[in-house]
Symmetry: C2
């Protein structure tokens, strides 16, 4: 079992429009696709950079995990999601190594992304996630 | 001017060996290349994941920027470096947009990586860097 690439990286922003504007002006990143992800209490803007997605995440519900992250840490890096061929196998390996996933089953991300987070206590300060498109 | 891909992402760790071990066990990432970067006061371990480099960074000099980051924020995300075709052009665009680079000229990163950081005041809480291999 090995991750195959960086599928996406999420950055928390206070304001999606301001974030899009900043990334366009400083990095030339454009063609953002806007989406809501009500289950997480966020609005998102994603753009493909090379072979990975850059995702800007604006919390709209401050009681959700991204909203709490914004309140505690401010804007910035939120999580990195690695592509795997088989989510179940990737999660089973984590458990076999003595670590844990944050939930019993994967959850629905944007588009056809099925995502599953590793317990952050086991990942050296970084929220790491697996992603499988299906 | 537009960035072309995620060239590398740096994560600060307290102990390089422990970091390598964790990434191998949980993510199956292996084949780390170990390197010192004395100018930054760090030891590093890098491995290619898809089309991008994952870089683990252990500060050995706590007065350097990565060392201070570890002391202030603990382990976790440090910076994201985007590939550009022309460093000078990318930096000139940042300045033209009213933002700033952190130095007058690029600095030498690992291998043949020439890197140049955007002032973090202008990047919504994320240390963003340009990278050109030459």
């Amino acid at each position: 079992m090995s991750v195959t690439k960086i599928h996406h990286i999420n950055f928390i922003v206070e304001d999606l429009s301001a974030g899009i504007d900043r990334y366009r002006k400083l990095l030339g990143i454009d063609n953002f696709v806007i989406d809501d992800l009500p289950g997480r209490g966020v609005k998102t803007a994603r753009s493909k950079v090379g072979d990975s997605w850059l995702v800007l995440v604006q919390p709209v519900d401050m009681t959700g995990i991204p909203g709490k992250h914004l309140q505690q840490h401010g804007e910035g890096f939120f999580l990195i999601s690695y592509s795997v061929d088989d989510l179940q196998q990737a999660a089973a390996n984590v458990v076999a190594q003595g670590s844990a996933m944050t939930s019993e089953i994967p959850r629905q991300g944007l588009e056809n992304w099925q995502v599953w987070d590793i317990d952050q206590n086991d990942t050296l300060g970084t929220q790491i996630q697996f992603c499988e498109e299906k």
